[in-house]
């Protein structure tokens, strides 16, 4: 492949970089314990925790979740657990 002469790129191109590959621990969301408060969505530094389509509970976009564990730490119902992800 050829490179441009300088590190110049299109805006929004970071979406193409699926940073989920950096993850070691994966947040597992337990829908039964979740009360839908949205604390996990508020605290996610990547902005990739969102409501499940057509539901009231939450889930992460695993393409971009880096596994920082903040959602699990902040969840008032302990509905998120960090598990070692085997790849």
């Amino acid at each position: 492949m050829t490179l441009p002469y300088a590190p110049i790129g299109k805006p929004g191109s970071s979406v193409a970089n699926k940073t989920g590959g950096w993850r070691i621990f994966i947040p597992v969301f337990n829908a039964e314990l979740c009360n839908g408060c949205g604390t996990c969505e508020t605290f996610c530094p990547e902005g990739i925790v969102h409501k499940i389509e057509g539901g009231d509970t939450f889930i992460a976009d695993y393409d971009y979740c880096k596994g920082c564990g903040i959602c699990a730490r902040e969840c008032p119902k302990d509905a998120i657990t960090m598990e070692l992800e085997e790849k």
Binding site: A6, I8, K10
Partner: protein, 419 residues
Amino acid sequence: MRKGMPKGCHHNGAGGEMTGKLKSGRMVVEGSYAAAHAAAMCRPDVISAYPITPQTHIVEDLSQFVADGAIDSKYINVESEFSALSALVGSSAAGARTYSATTSQGLALMHEVLFNAAGMRLPIVMTIVNRSMSAPINIWNDHQDSVAERDAGWIQLYTEDAQELVDTTVQAYLIGEDPDVSLPVMVCMDGFILSHVFEPVELLDQEKVDEFLPQFSPVRALDPENPESFGMFVDPEYYMDFRYLVEQAMDASRQKIADAARKFESAFGRYYGGLIDTYHTDGAEIILVAMGSLVGTLRDVVDDLREKGVSVGLLKIRAFRPFPIDEILKVVARAKVVVVLDKNISLGTGEGAVTTEIKAGLYDSGSDIRVPVMGFVVGLGGRDIPVGTVQRIVEKAKTVAESGVSGRSEFVDLKHLRV
């Protein structure tokens, strides 16, 4: 006009420009004025600089030109050298021709931004008024400031007198803005020795400079209609390849530096060499090597010694980056000794950078050139380099020319310590 200066009696000798065009033609001016005038003739869209001795007069003159309406440049006032160069990185990325000037601690404060400007391939031109580095704090000349930035990816051109500084400034834009190069350029002049001395200088004519130097046409530029991100984050997958591209561009600049010097000669009738210049090197047994104003002193020494029958010549390094090792090897191939006078010291190696790089180039040449290289650290922090000192160095070189064996580099003319 500076405070306290009567009208028509401008400190720089060129008379007070109030409005309109700057004067051109041959006149006696301060080196700093010559530098400012040369920069102005290149029509920079944006100038940003922070005053620091001995560069101050250049930015004072340029801001005066702007205030007087003599040039159309936008002058961005900043609080530091870091900001000055950062402002130019943004301006250059937006397609502006840009200029700055600094020295010593100011250049050091730009350190991080220097790498950015080069890595982003922005052809900023900056005059470096060479001065020593602190500590101890000292405002006088040596080459430590710019030599310390040799790995930043900037082309570095050193000049011997004010006229060469003027002419090289114009060439610098032509070289840096070439699409095959697209790199920033430092044009170096010795602090005080050149910046504060009044010399007869041919100040360039605007029309002739316009003819010589086309408008800046960037390879890519920021454009709100077609948004792009400059200086992007690059992971290990790409980083090394981008660094290789900078090295390739440096390599491409070799021919462009030589071409720009010849093109300038055709247009203006003055020539200072391409990457290097030589003086009486044909058949010379002893070859002196130096950069900057010291070359002027060495020309006199060579003249004097030649009259006395000493086989000595002079190699001037105009381009320190890219380092002109092929050109140097050709010149020293048949010499008996190479004598390098370094106005810098790479602490911990015991010698100046030019000495080290010539030695490295000799070993790496793949040729059978085996010539001893003697390194001398001279003139740090403004210590004079009188003719007598150079003559004593040449006496030592004669011995090495016979034995073929050189020793370690040495500090010359220490006053209060013994080597």
